[in-house]
Amino acid sequence: MPRITVSVDGVTYEEEVEPRLLLVHLLRDRLGKTGTPVGCDTGNCGACTVTLDGRSAKSCSVLAVQADGSEVVTVEGLARDGRWHPMQEAFHAEHALQCGYCTPGMLMAAIDLLRDDPDPSEEAVRRGLEGNLCRCTGYTNIVRAVRRAAAEMSRAPHERMPGAAEDREAAAS
């Protein structure tokens, strides 16, 4: 069986994996990171979105062996020193979740969006979250939350993006 090394939420793991093991199952079943749910079989719903080497990816559509040598951040890696990430704060404040199933993926996709567009319009948020479905149809509050987080993060730019190279440099210094 292939042996892989992968960093998840800042911790390095060495695992022997069957080639068919999906990244999301590595996270949930082997590493206990059940914060990342599986929502569908087709890569449509986005509930399982994580960042892989700094960019959003649907962890149900990545093999664990493909993530060998990579850095993964899940929703469980967002909080720092017991404080939520500003995106989590904003989702809380704007009531941007009902059942919560899509929330981990929404958070990861929203943070990825702000990396490219730190001040997205409503339209840009809707386009950026195109790959994440909310079956409670709570999109209005989700869009509001992302814009609130964007404003918050531009006021406090030290709040960091997960998995970015510059974060690693900052952490090292």
């Binding site: 068919r20 999906l22 087709t42 890569g43 986005g46 959003s56 559509s61 062996v65 990825d112």
Partner: protein
């Protein structure tokens, strides 16, 4: 669902990959190339495919990247959709590719899905095959027997069937630069965000000095088992001088584009019946030509 078991091979070079594929072919094994996995992994999860092994091209940097090569832009097969969209060379010289790529899937899928994978998958509902056809791209392919080139017009053989032998790897695609005076547009109709095209229309048009259309190239998405050129409409558009809709309501562009569905055999599915797809092809072609003319 969890995919059925398979072996995993990570070749060190393209030659290595070709050797693995040739050996598998000789042994009668069904081995599949893995690129971004955004089409293949869902197929495996739905158990619609049972390869004995996957050959992962994901770590071969020589297959990745965009290069300006004078009269054409070369896009390595493993270049992701996201990299294609961000490429200044693509945006400047082959903007139709950037426009269509921006409509593919969603950001997370575009971070992993590849330009070559979209071609090799040969899905007539995919947005990029119609663009390749409209621009007369050339596919560069290698096997253990050597390299060959396949023109776009011969690459898409049938539904999900590219002109790739079992031992062949797609290295990259040459996208011809059309030069100055061309306008481009990709018009995609879909019912929901992130969905595949019900119908899509890729258009490149060039006007002469007098303002009349001298050449039009039109590729249609999801209007048959393969992407197709709307040759009849292309011919009908030649010589048409786009004018503001006449006071008598005539629109010569619309008349020419009304033949966009000629020679197509659109599928029936949950989203549309063939006659509705024909209607869409005509209407969307008119819109796309209008937008491409600016």
């Amino acid at each position: 669902m969890i995919p059925a078991p398979f072996d995993y091979v990570r070749p060190a070079s393209v030659e290595d990959a070709c050797r693995v594929l040739a050996d598998a072919e000789a042994a009668g094994d069904e081995v599949k190339v893995l690129a971004g996995g955004q089409s293949l992994l869902p197929l495996l999860r739905l158990r619609l495919a049972y390869p004995s092994a996957l050959v992962d091209l994901g770590r071969l940097p020589e297959l990745r990247g965009v290069a300006d090569r004078g009269d054409h832009v070369y896009i390595g097969a493993l270049t992701t959709h996201d990299e294609v969209m961000r490429s200044g060379v693509v945006r400047e010289h082959v903007p139709l590719v950037a426009l269509a790529t921006a409509t593919v899937a969603d950001p997370a899928v575009r971070h992993r899905g590849t330009f070559g994978g979209s071609m090799a998958h040969a899905d007539p509902a995919g947005d990029l095959p119609a663009v390749a056809l409209a621009l007369d791209c050339v596919f560069v392919v290698r096997s253990s027997d050597g390299e060959r080139e396949i023109p776009a017009a011969e690459f898409f053989v049938d539904y999900l069937e590219p002109a790739l032998g079992p031992g062949e790897v797609l290295l990259g695609v040459r996208v011809p630069k059309l030069g100055s005076g061309w306008g481009f547009h990709y018009e995609k109709f879909h019912r929901t965000a992130q969905a595949w095209a019900t119908v899509g229309v890729a258009v490149a048009v060039r006007r002469g000095d007098g303002g009349a259309i001298e050449e039009a190239r039109i590729g249609l998405t999801n209007m048959g088992p393969t992407p197709v050129r709307a040759r009849v409409a292309e011919a009908a558009l030649r010589g048409v001088a786009p004018s503001p809709a006449g006071s008598n309501g005539s629109d010569p562009l619309r008349e020419a584009c009304a033949q966009a569905d000629a020679g197509t055999s659109p599928p029936a599915d949950l989203h549309a019946r063939p006659d509705y797809r024909r209607h869409l092809a005509r209407v969307l072609t008119r819109r796309a030509v209008g937008a491409a003319l600016g």
